[in-house]
Subunit: 163 residues, 2 copies
């Protein structure tokens, strides 16, 4: 099937300059502030976004090297299928995070609870809406007993090269 | 900045053969069943996903024609910035849905609450995890009074050509 081509719409800035030490998921990134530099030509698309407390970011894991179908997530020592974990070494290295939107000034978005590495290319911003995006979940598989470790888990650079 | 290239990992099948009449968001798609046909070479990546009740689908809005920075969402007659709405005519036409996972048989995933059009190319599957993906939201901007209309809202084909 044909390739699908996207173009970054901006760059995510955060205090995390390398993968090592970057929090795993937003729960470990509580309070961490960052910025989105939206390329100026898209600024008009931000109109009315400031009414939302949270936004969805879809971005490209630009530092990831290679693809795996089975991998060990940071929180477990056993391998799982790549679609059952959130590790970046995916067939399409697409990242997804929900962050808090603090304010917007022209083409700059000030965000909080950022678990994303500095310099990450941004692909899309969507408003986060409970009626669309929140589900009552019964099962979280292998994560069931691991999820408590989350706030203290950090990336160890395993999926990237560190510059 | 450079183009980013992805390849579909599978195809989403649903009862919605054209954009017109397709539910807007999952709340309007309650009970609708569909199937994901993951391309066989990725089957190994599904290991342990069956432990999760819900999954995140990231996909390509393949029928969308063109890009807008301001658009009228289905639920409102006023224009908003494209990043403040969920309409598909985005700079990068990337779709995001959380669906219920019923079962997996080899490379086929049986899913429910599907608001996605038949034949949509799939880019990624992630496990949906409340600790990662659920936030306590204070504000939902222009959607505040509109969100009640959701279960009865349907696509009218406005963003695509209908075959």
């Amino acid at each position: 099937m044909d390739e699908i081509k996207y173009k970054p719409i901006g760059i995510i800035h955060s205090p995390f300059k390398k993968t090592e030490g970057t929090p795993i998921q937003v729960k470990g990134a509580k309070g961490i502030e960052g910025k989105i530099e939206l390329f100026k030509e898209y600024t008009e698309g931000l109109k009315d976004l400031n009414g939302f407390s949270h936004i969805i970011l879809i971005y490209h894991f630009h530092l990831v090297k290679g693809t795996k179908l089975m991998a060990k997530p940071f929180m477990n020592n056993r391998e799982h299928g790549i679609f059952a974990i959130r590790a970046p070494v995916r067939p399409n290295p697409i990242g997804f995070s929900v962050v808090r939107l603090l304010k917007i000034k022209e083409n700059i978005l000030y965000i909080k609870d950022v678990d994303i590495i500095d310099g990450t290319p941004l692909l899309d911003i969507k408003p986060y809406v409970p009626d669309f995006d929140i589900r009552k979940v019964e099962k979280i598989g292998w994560l069931d007993k691991k999820v408590k470790k989350l706030p203290s888990s950090r990336d160890n650079g395993r999926f990237t090269y560190n510059e």
